[in-house]
């Protein structure tokens, strides 16, 4: 549970987690195993169609939540169930406490429920004198330790068998073995007596089926079945977003949920409960059954134009499984109660801005969560939008506001960059890297060599680089992006060299500005929208066949976010859509549009190249084949590695905010590349080049880092 009150404390907590050796190893093994299992888990299935199906069904259910609730109530009440509506977390806890009191219950057994974690139900009931025992093994372990879960599906993944053995020794008063099989059996027997003694069972539910008034609950251990069978009272606490119209929608979600969560086709048990069933422990012979639906903001969320999609979440936990930050720091530092990417969003709504303010900034925007989400939630966007909300008027970080002020004023920004090349002289000492960075601005940034600002930006080199073919087949607008314009102009020059002699008319519109992504990443939504409008008005999509960029981040932002940022802007939104449709990255342009690029003569030295897939290329723009094909076509021996599609750790301004994490992610990547024995590491984004080259240079790695355009230049006939 992350509770840091400010960024300094949060970073301290992150550093402490980075030093937790067991957790680091456990999460790293899990990240690799999960990635390897992913394709197999959905073998023979149309995963995309399943995602679309789940997404559509959840959106439909959210749009008629109240109607489904009324229908569920009618069916369940007719079958002897008491249905309650709790507007808030506190109200839900009060209702459940009252049910216990009215039925003279004292001993409660619980099966796993994230909704009960959300309302802190256990603390509430224990304060009122009830005995509450978690029966899911992982949940029981963390309850005994007084901790919250560190993963939504595997709550005790941060603990070793030794720690569990010590804990069980303390709890049973007998010395315990460290053999996992034996520890599980001890838990089986210790908990069985709790089931027998209990007079009330509390469960969650994965589905509340309106057409029949049925609860559907998944479980592997089988504790859900005992919790809902042995005690005479059963209370289910259910988020109102779990309502589905019918059995079909539940079965559809079940095809994705366990596969995405644990790689299982189905969990060991699926329990469907409709109405108050026979119960030997109850005086009446029938179970005393209550269902408490929790709103806590969900009904309002369902009507929100941007955030309603957060309700699609089926709590599979996969967004944590693929998150490079989670992989390093674990769930106690990467969530308050809800963990992973969805946790960064839900924390704001369910547990408040103060709990989320630091947390929500801990996102690389690498899109891995969006890619894995079985319900098709655009998690990186929701995280950015929460970031915008979480910045209250009273505490705008000075740096963010300054950045917005400058980046929005193109002339001022470019002027500053130009003068920067003189001001940096004392720190570059004539090399292409910054040395002895001023500590005030660049604290903890020395894990990588930062590049110097170029003596001559690309905009001043354009006249020399341009060329006009007599009969152009394609009209292309070049979007340079700030980093290549002012820091790496040689990457654009190399690209222009590769296009020379081809039937492409390239235009460079010098009034173009920053794409706006850095501002969006800082939570400056309006400033980012202004820049989108500016660029669209100066590069009119109607005049070009393509808008070509050598920066995957600019490309992905312009394609994905421009239409979104200009959603309400009549007319501009149309242009934004047209603009987005024409955005193309350099590798795709070279491979798909210019298919006749000349292959390299066989005599060229066979260099070995590893590839780094920029997040904004492989996931943001959905490009994966073209760059690898180009490397081979241009005579490189392409050497794959396991971390190719993992983020480099830059995340734009992320690496300045969280340098310790950025550095660890970078190391992992560089190690994987070193492992291939490659001469070159090639990528498609100047930001990734900055991070990867900076790290490789600082660490004296044996390979060079090149932008794709640089790697291909000079290798054509």
């Amino acid at each position: 549970m992350q509770t840091a009150g400010n960024m300094k404390d949060y970073r301290k907590q992150l550093v402490a987690q980075l030093k937790n050796g067991f957790q680091r190893k456990a999460l790293d093994n899990f990240a690799v195993a999960y990635r390897q299992g992913r394709e197999k888990n959905f073998a023979g299935m149309d995963r995309q169609a399943l995602v679309q199906g789940i997404r559509a069904a959840k959106d439909d259910a959210a749009s008629r939540m109240d109607e489904l609730y009324a229908q569920f109530c009618r069916r369940a009440e007719a079958a002897g169930v008491h249905v309650h509506f709790a507007a808030s977390d506190h109200q839900a806890n009060e209702i459940i406490s009252r049910i216990a009191e009215e039925n003279d219950c004292h001993r409660i057994v619980k099966s796993k429920s994230m909704t009960a974690e959300e309302t802190l139900l256990n603390d509430f009931l224990e304060n009122r004198g009830y005995e509450v025992i978690e029966t899911d093994l992982g949940e029981w372990i963390i309850q005994l330790r007084g901790e919250g879960p560190s993963h939504m599906v595997m709550p005790a993944i941060h603990l070793s068998r030794n720690e569990v053995s010590r804990l069980f020794t303390e709890v049973t008063g007998k010395q315990q073995d460290t053999d996992i099989e034996k520890l599980v059996k001890v838990a089986r027997r210790e908990l069985r007596q709790r089931f027998i003694r209990a007079d009330m069972g509390i469960s969650g539910a994965n589905f509340a089926i309106a057409e029949t008034g049925t609860l559907g609950i998944v479980s592997n251990e089988g504790n859900v079945r005992l919790v809902t069978t042995l005690p005479r009272v059963h209370v289910a606490l259910v988020g109102i977003d779990k309502l589905v119209p019918g059995i079909r929608e539940a079965l559809q979600t079940l095809k994705g949920l366990p596969r995405n969560a644990t790689g299982q086709a189905i969990t060991s048990y699926l329990t469907w409960i409709t109405g108050a069933n026979p119960s030997a422990a109850s005086h009446s012979g029938r179970k005393i059954m209550h269902v408490v639906f929790l709103d806590n903001g969900r009904r309002a969320l369902a009507r929100d134009p941007v955030f309603s999609e957060a309700l699609r979440c089926v709590r599979c936990g996969a967004c944590a499984n693929v998150c490079p930050v989670y992989r390093l720091v674990g769930g106690h530092a990467y969530g308050h109660i809800y963990i992973g990417a969805i946790g960064l969003v839900l924390t704001y709504f369910f547990h408040g801005r103060n709990r989320d303010r630091q947390l929500v900034q801990n996102c690389l925007n690498c899109q891995a969560c969006k890619d894995v989400c079985i319900a098709g939630i655009d998690l990186p966007r929701l995280i950015k939008e929460v970031h915008v909300l979480s910045q209250g008027s009273e505490d705008k970080p000075v740096l963010n506001s300054m950045a917005a002020f400058v980046l929005k004023r193109r002339r001022l920004f470019h002027g500053l960059l130009r003068s920067g090349r003189y001001m940096q002289k004392p720190v570059t000492r004539g090399t292409p890297y910054m040395r002895h960075l001023p500590q005030v601005l660049f604290r903890d940034q020395d894990f990588k060599a930062l590049p110097a600002i170029s003596a001559k930006p690309f905009r001043d080199r354009w006249d020399a680089a341009r060329h006009s073919p007599p009969h152009p087949e394609y009209r292309v607008a070049l979007f340079s992006g700030c980093l290549q314009d002012f820091v790496y102009p040689e990457q654009l020059e190399a690209g222009m060299g590769l296009l020379a002699g081809r039937p492409v008319e390239v235009t460079f519109q010098s009034r173009q500005g920053c794409c706006g992504l850095p501002l969006y990443m800082l939570g400056k939504r309006e400033a980012a929208a202004d820049l989108a409008a500016w660029n669209i008005s100066h590069i009119d999509p109607a005049e070009y066949d393509f808008i070509l960029t050598f920066c995957a981040s600019c490309g992905s932002h312009m394609r994905e976010n421009y239409p979104f940022l200009l959603e309400g802007a009549s007319g501009r939104r149309v242009k934004a859509d047209q603009f987005a449709a024409k955005v193309i990255d350099f590798s795709s342009f070279m491979q798909m549009v210019m298919p006749d690029s000349e292959p390299v003569p066989a005599a060229t030295e066979k260099l070995k190249a590893a590839y780094h897939a920029p997040c904004h290329l492989c996931r943001g723009l959905g490009v994966s084949r073209a760059p690898r094909a180009l490397l081979t076509k241009f005579g490189y021996e392409y050497l794959p590695h396991g971390e190719e599609e993992t983020c480099c750790g830059l995340g734009g301004t992320y690496s300045f905010k969280f340098p310790e994490i950025s550095a660890e992610i970078l190391d992992k990547k560089l190690d994987a590349v070193s492992g291939t024995g490659a001469d070159l590491l090639v990528t498609d984004c100047p930001g990734c080049v900055m991070q990867l080259r900076g790290g490789a240079v600082r660490q004296g790695r044996a390979f060079a880092v090149r932008h794709m355009a640089e790697a291909l230049a000079g290798r054509q006939t």
Partner: protein, 213 residues
């Protein structure tokens, strides 16, 4: 290969992949024989009182006393015809047979014998309609759960049984379970362990076509 044979084969393959033991039997008598033999031959103490051999707290140790130290088969909700055949077989093997009041045996039962209502081949799951509390408990507190599944009740996909499920859920109150393999956990170091709260073993006996109808 007939369509049904394909379903049987797929069911067996998927179920075995999640540690279910699958066998095709020709007649109910063979299924009963299988259950009684398994119960008779199984290591009584070790599996029987799973957890009792380990160091436990006092109240948990008391629970082991709840259990009668005689082997037990629970066969709730079985047809009288089946029971007539099963009773002498159990008596001969020295095994107790219970049908009701399973809540009193929460310490553990050796074998729970049930008849599955439906099977789903692409996940190797059985569907058990169990609003009857004793039937439910037999599949939860038994160390070994043996389910007899008729071949003609196997369907390819969960969507194929939507109508059947709707009929069950509409006839409330209702408690229906999809069961796929034994109880399992990976909560400690992601190491898979079978038998955390429910059965340690799951057996499905597919009753072939010869007893159809």
């Amino acid at each position: 290969m007939t369509k049904q044979q394909k379903l049987i084969d797929e069911f067996a393959e998927k179920a075995r992949a999640v540690s279910t033991k699958v066998r095709v039997v020709d007649a109910m008598a063979e299924a009963l024989e299988y259950a009684v033999t398994l119960c008779r031959d199984k290591e009584a103490c070790q599996v029987l009182a799973s957890g009792c051999e380990h160091p436990l707290s006092e109240p948990a140790e008391d629970l082991c006393g709840l259990k009668q130290w005689q082997k037990l088969i629970a066969a709730p909700a079985m047809d009288q015809k089946v029971l007539d055949a099963l009773i002498p077989m159990c008596r001969e093997a020295g095994i107790g047979l219970i049908q009701k009041g399973l809540g009193g045996y929460a310490g553990g039962i050796d074998v729970g014998l049930t008849g599955a209502d439906l099977g789903i081949s692409n996940t190797g799951s059985i569907v058990l309609n169990c609003p009857d509390e004793d039937l439910r408990l037999a599949t939860m507190i038994s160390e070994v759960h043996i389910a007899v599944l008729r071949a003609e009740d196997i369907y390819a996909d969960s969507h194929d049984i939507e109508a059947a499920l709707l009929a069950l859920f509409t006839d409330a109150p209702d408690y229906t379970a999809f069961i796929t393999g034994p109880s399992r956990t990976a909560d400690i170091e992601r190491v898979l362990s079978l038998g955390v709260h429910g059965p340690l073993e799951m057996h499905v006996l597919i009753l072939g076509q010869s007893e159809k109808g």
